[in-house]
């Protein structure tokens, strides 16, 4: 039984992704800051991520169309940079510093406590989708370590006993 081969193509709405007019405009605006539209690719990914929480496949295609560069190049950039998420993440992103000065001031105790509170390991998201826990390199607060960021907020001089209070602020 010879079935005709069905060619599956990735369409704009393959995962229901629609680039909003506001995001498209923001990306258009970014393009003008550079000699070449490609330079806006990282910012474009960040714009999409800001409105969707992460970067779905459809967004890669939409950005490649808007910037006139291959989708594979956009994907290459999206997977290279650690702050671009190609899979769904939690509503709040916890990024704890695991670099050398925080090693001395004791980030391991902080991670252990976070793992206990959230019941997840680094790289995972809580089942209720509230938090994603990620390590990050030096946050430039070495005189106030251990340190972490939750979304855009920086928290310094962490001690395991005050973590519950900090997490409480992010519902």
């Amino acid at each position: 039984m010879n079935q005709p081969i069905k060619i599956v193509t990735v369409s704009d709405d393959s995962d229901g992704f629609v680039l909003s007019d506001a995001d498209a405009q923001a990306i258009e605006h970014e393009k003008h800051h550079y000699e070449d539209p490609r330079a806006a690719s990282i910012e474009a990914l960040k714009i999409v991520q800001k409105s969707h929480g992460w970067v779905p496949d459809g967004a890669i295609k939409a950005i490649s169309d808007l910037l006139g560069i291959p989708a594979s190049d956009v994907e290459g950039v999206a997977t290279f940079y650690s702050q671009i998420y190609r899979q769904p993440v939690g509503k709040h992103i916890i990024r704890y510093c695991d670099s050398v000065v925080c090693h001395i001031t004791g980030f391991e105790d902080i991670v252990t406590e976070l793992e206990k509170q959230l019941k997840i390991k680094p790289g995972q998201t809580t089942p209720d989708g509230r938090f994603t826990l990620l390590p990050t390199c030096c946050l430039g607060n070495c005189d106030k370590g251990p340190t972490m960021m939750v979304n855009d907020d920086t928290h310094v001089r962490l001690v395991p006993s005050n973590l519950a209070n900090i997490l409480e602020q992010y519902q």
């Binding site: 190049d73 702050q83 050398v100 001395i104 390199c137 430039g140 070495c142 855009d152």
Partner: protein, 443 residues
């Protein structure tokens, strides 16, 4: 900056304007405190004169490598037909143990903007970018506001202060990855590509962003420029102490388990002991200094006996390390060196861009060996394997300085604390075979 030091424009050119309440210094206040005088002076001069002045002042790059800033500027092509040039500020501060550029950008954004305008005039750039790491949210906000203020005051844009000079400045924020701080990787990232370093030559001065002549300088280097224009070469050279051959002041600090970790603007040549004991308040109760890194994760460890060295490029290099960012890190006697090195090499292995094989494969290998030694499961030959990796990842084997920087702390830790590594080697080798002296290190 909590110490009550009497700071003046003559003694603390980078930080004397800082406010007690740690709020940013905006345009009006900045101008009251000699702000943008340097730009006025620079614009009245020929670009080559500005380059000459910064060269004569002896300013060396504050990002870690210490390349003379004026010399870097003078490498821009003389060919006037190459008229599209870029001035880029490397504000991708991510070196573990470094927190200096953050302070300047958050609290003194106009100092950086002023420095960028002068630099752009010197190298004849019409457009500039501040490449800022994505996590520095407050710095991005403050720099953007400062740029808007400067634009409204006619200090940026077309015909700056009626001089005929045009310059537009953008803040470009990154999306993570330490390697973006490497000058050519930064240019690739700015162009919207993966941040792999480029092969050199050609150097960015000839072919940088979009193939155009480009100059990349660190935040603190650029922030030194306005006062050099304002107060001159002799004053700048005279700031130094302890017979140092380097010039000017430097943001220096000590972190780790010291009483008062922090950041201070000090003359080049200030001894590490003075910073540790007088400013950082010495080691915490019950802790002794075991070793220290003078300037970031990628610098060789030094011993307590080296504390009396003047902190400058020449003296620290003679002792077998590098000044780097001059933000030192104290390691106390309770810290195990193998665990510390495992942490450092995990960082470098994770942040390798993967472009060159020695770096991509060698660094995870070192992590594997260090983990085994840390757990007391090291095998005879493991230390030799680490030493061999230090040689294979030395300068000249990779496109950029990432891997060479990664092995600097490793080679010096093995040199000074070999017994701690030996303590993690247990029993006989159970590897099946040796490959020319390299242990396969099976899991």
């Amino acid at each position: 900056m909590s110490l009550s030091i009497n700071k003046t424009a003559e003694s603390h050119p980078l930080t004397w304007c800082l406010r007690e309440d740690e709020q940013p210094v905006w345009l009006d206040e900045y101008r009251r405190k000699e702000g943008y005088v340097g730009v006025e002076k620079a614009l009245a001069m020929h670009p080559d004169e500005v380059v000459g002045l910064v060269k004569d002042a002896g300013l060396r790059g504050r990002g870690g490598a210490g390349f003379p800033t004026g010399l870097k500027w003078s490498l821009m092509p003389k060919d006037e037909s190459m008229n599209i040039r870029y001035m880029i500020c490397n504000a991708d501060e991510m070196e573990p143990g470094t927190y200096k550029d953050r302070l300047l950008m958050e609290q003194m954004p106009h100092l950086l903007v002023e420095g960028m305008i002068i630099a752009a005039h010197a190298i004849k750039a019409y457009r500039g970018y501040i490449f800022l790491r994505g996590e520095y949210v407050e710095a991005a906000e403050n720099l953007r506001k400062a740029i808007e203020e400067a634009k409204s005051a006619g200090l940026l844009g077309k015909d700056i202060l009626g001089s005929g000079k045009d310059f537009e400045l953008f803040v470009h924020t990154g999306a993570g990855r330490y390697i973006c701080g490497e000058e050519t990787a930064l240019i690739n990232s700015l162009e919207g590509r993966r941040a792999n370093p480029r092969s050199k030559p050609p150097f960015p001065a000839v072919s940088g962003a979009w193939g155009k002549p480009t100059c990349v300088n660190n935040v603190e280097s650029i922030c030194n420029v306005p006062s050099i224009l304002n107060r001159g070469v002799d004053w700048y050279k005279g700031l130094t102490v302890n017979g140092s051959n380097d010039c000017g002041t430097k943001l220096m600090g000590f972190s780790g388990r010291v009483n008062n970790p922090g950041l201070w603007e000090l003359p080049m040549g200030t001894t590490a002991r003075e910073i540790l004991e007088n400013y950082a308040g010495g080691m915490q109760e019950g802790l002794d200094l075991k070793t220290w890194q003078p300037g970031g994760a990628g610098t060789d460890f030094l011993l307590p006996e080296h504390l009396d060295l003047p902190m400058d490029f020449e003296h620290i290099q003679k002792a077998g390390s590098r000044l780097g960012t001059a933000l030192a890190m104290a390691v106390d006697h309770k810290i195990n060196m193998v665990s510390l090195l495992r942490n450092l090499e995990e960082f470098f292995a994770r942040e390798s861009c993967g472009w060159c094989t020695p770096c991509r494969d060698g660094l995870p290998w070192s992590v594997k060996v260090l983990r085994a030694i840390e757990h007391g499961e090291g095998q005879p030959g493991d230390i030799e394997t680490l030493e061999q990796l230090c040689r294979s990842l030395a300068p000249g084997h990779t496109f950029c300085a990432h891997a060479p920087g990664a092995v600097e702390p490793l080679q010096s830790a093995i040199k000074y604390f070999r017994e701690e590594f030996e303590a993690g080697i247990s029993g006989q080798a159970n590897n099946l075979r040796e490959i020319r002296g390299i242990q396969p290190n099976q899991q």
